[in-house]
Amino acid sequence: MLSAILTLAILAGIFGLLLGFAAIKFKVEGDPLVDNIDKLLPQTQCGQCGFPGCRPYATAIASDEADINLCPPGGDTTIIALADLLGREAKALDSEKNAAPPEPMIALIDENSCIGCTLCIQACPVDAIIGAAKQMHSVFDKECTGCELCLPPCPVDCISMVAIEQNITTWKWPDPAKRITESVS
């Protein structure tokens, strides 16, 4: 009886020490969950989730204040990745949201109609529009995330979304598996 208690006590002690040691040794700084969620988000900073940017949304997901299916640009891929990360059930994109266009888009300013009001510059979440007051603006296409936040403020409707053109460095081989399903059906 006594030896059993003793053994168990010693065991508990050892495991306790081990756990304590592990907690110190493998301590993670900060809140990695928010960072990890943020990594999975597409960083368009479009705010369609209802939060002012990707990181606030990530914080909201981490603290269980937001669902994982609110990101239209990320689409199913992001939802599945988030579900995997958080061990939750993947679900369809929130029905109130419009799914993102199938191919990535960027904003293009019609430079003839632009009046130089700077409203789009203020709206751009990633500072991808350059220009000054009463000067024509233009989109820095490498930085544009396609968030569409510049469209509503434009008083002359001179911004349009265009698909990113493929070139030989961004071209991708088509999915060979798709051909099979086509030939089968």
């Binding site: 597409p42 900073q45 990181r55 979440p125 990633v126 930085e143 995330t145 071209w171 081989w173 088509p174």
Partner: protein, 549 residues
């Protein structure tokens, strides 16, 4: 000669090389226009040096290297630059890219050149620069800028220089014909390369299905003690760099390493000949040998073609049938479909293969993988193609890298032997481009995040500054409206307070001036005349000031 080794896997497809080796190399007549894509090789495309309407001479540089992994591009003949714009290029995507269009004037007028015979005494770095300026890339097919492989770096000792005359891919015979007909150029080129990399020995490797080429090279190197020729048993893909190194030296190039790491440099026979022309004759790379063959070609042969020649011209010259089911650049194992014969010959174009479905039939229906393992047995890298296929299909791009997707050389052996007709290599290419695209997206997302964070920070700062300003103003207003302080304020007067501050500042400036006793420097040691002029001006100023007052 040291014994040869054999790499794992490999296949023995029917070679079909005899068709195009019956007649000697013929020079293709000047085409009507040349389309010169700026993206000719691995690495960064070159940047144009010429403008629309410029007259250029044969061999004149028309685009310069952009960055380290890049080489120049030269005018293949004399003529006029008629356009610089997007034209279809030979690429599996069928997309267009930036090209320089040259209309030949038919004069073939060379830019001035100076020939050199003392190349074996030239400094290695000088040789490298000349090779780079001559726009030479590996002519075996991959198109890696050749000068980089002439630079072993200070710490690497090159034990063996291997000259690749294997040409293991079916149908292609341009290296074979080059070795038969331009043996001396190749040997001189090999000597230049050996000199540049300080190789202890040079070995020219030729497959045993090219006895004429072997014989020719053997005779040409009879008096060269450091240069030997070896005949390798035919097996595909022996011409692949890492496989060839293993066959010749028994050394395995590490997966993430270069041949340099095992003391080996490999150059193609065509590259050797081009290096000879560049160094000895100062001729940049403006033409190459191209095999035109396939069962849709009535006169299969090897042509010497200017870079930029439209493929249409080659087909016409070799009397192609109108019925071409597949037009392939490169061989049947690793080549790619060209979408239009308007695209042109690149520096890396070794073969134009025009076939009908009689000789290269359309693929049968893809069946499920039965995991027979034939692909794994054929893989020269010892990958597990069936697992790669599985993960590519499942779009599990992490797991597929775990199974070493990026060690795949896309030789096509696995797809060749697959009983289920699975286009395995297509799956790997798909997975690779998907992974690259994901990496690009990730990079873009990271930049977007940074920019967003930066903007958020800036906005917060602006807001804070604004708030601080408001607060100060409010405080001032408060002070003004405070009745207890009103009297003193009136007494001194807000205005007088300000004025006092200004006066104080001016005094400080004056004091400073006094202390330094500064005078404009150019007012000392003046000539009389200058002094007079200055006095005059000063007087004028004085009077004007007085008038104004």
């Amino acid at each position: 000669m040291s014994p040869l080794w054999s790499f794992p896997g490999g296949i023995h497809p029917p070679m079909h090389k005899e068709e195009s080796t019956r007649s000697p190399i013929v020079k293709l007549p000047l085409p009507e226009r040349l389309i010169l894509p700026l993206h000719q090789h691995i690495g960064a495309p070159s940047t144009p040096d010429v403008n629309l309407g410029d007259q250029v001479l044969k061999g004149q540089r028309i685009a310069h290297a952009d960055g380290y992994v890049s080489v120049a591009l030269h005018a293949p003949t004399s003529g006029t630059i008629t356009d610089i714009g997007e034209y279809p290029i030979p690429h599996p995507s069928g997309l267009s890219d930036l090209c320089i269009i040259l209309s030949p004037d038919g004069q073939e007028k060379w830019i001035s050149r100076e020939t050199k015979d003392d190349y074996l005494f030239m400094d290695a770095s000088h040789l490298r620069n000349r090779v780079r300026d001559a726009g030479i890339v590996g002519l075996g097919g991959a198109g890696f800028p050749a000068f980089i492989k002439l630079n072993p770096g200070p710490r690497n000792v090159i034990e063996t220089l291997i000259i690749n005359g294997i040409e293991c891919e079916p149908y292609i015979s341009c290296d074979d014909m080059l070795m038969r007909e331009r043996t001396a150029n190749i040997v001189s080129g090999v000597k230049i390369i050996a000199h540049a990399v300080q190789a202890r020995q040079s070995i020219i490797a030729i497959e045993d299905n090219k006895p004429e080429a072997y014989q020719a090279m053997l005779e040409a190197t009879a008096n060269e003690p450091d240069l030997s020729v070896v005949q390798c048993p035919t097996i595909y893909p022996q011409g692949s760099e890492k496989q060839l190194i293993y066959v010749v030296t028994g050394k395995e190039v590490p997966s993430d390493g270069l041949p340099l790491n095992v003391g080996v440099v490999v150059h193609n026979v065509g590259t050797a000949a081009a290096i000879y022309s560049a160094i000895a004759k100062a001729e940049p790379l403006i033409s190459r040998i191209v095999t035109v063959t396939g069962d849709a070609i009535r006169k299969p042969q090897n042509l010497e073609v200017l870079i930029g020649t439209p493929i249409r011209s080659l087909l016409d010259f070799c009397d192609a049938q109108t019925q071409i089911d597949q037009l392939i650049m490169g061989g049947p194992m690793m080549g790619f479909t060209i979408h239009t014969p308007l695209a042109s010959v690149l520096k890396t174009t070794n073969c134009i293969l025009a076939t009908t479905y009689n000789s290269l039939p359309e693929k049968n229906m893809e069946m499920p993988c039965i995991r027979c393992g034939a692909c794994a047995d054929a893989c020269p890298i010892k990958l597990l193609p069936q697992q790669l296929y599985w993960y590519a299909r499942a779009k599990d791009f992490e797991k597929i890298q775990d199974y070493n997707l990026f060690d795949c050389i896309e030789c096509g052996c696995c797809a060749y032997v697959c009983p289920s007709n699975i286009p395995l290599v297509h799956y790997y290419r798909y997975a690779k481009t998907e992974i690259w695209s994901k990496e690009r997206e990730q990079q873009k997302a990271d930049i977007a995040r940074q920019r967003h964070d930066f903007r958020a920070e800036r906005l917060a700062k602006e807001k804070a500054e604004k708030a601080a300003r408001h607060k100060r103003k409010r405080n001032e207003l408060k002070e003004k409206s405070d009745p207890s302080k009103k009297e003193t304020l009136i007494k001194n007067g807000a205005k007088s307070k300000k004025k006092a501050a200004i006066l104080e500042a001016m005094e400080r400036v004056q004091a400073k001036k006094e202390a330094h006793k500064t005078e404009p420097k150019n007012t000392v040691n003046l000539t009389e005349e200058q002094q007079r002029k200055i006095d005059q001006i000063n007087k004028k100023r004085e009077t004007r000031k007085n008038n104004e007052d």
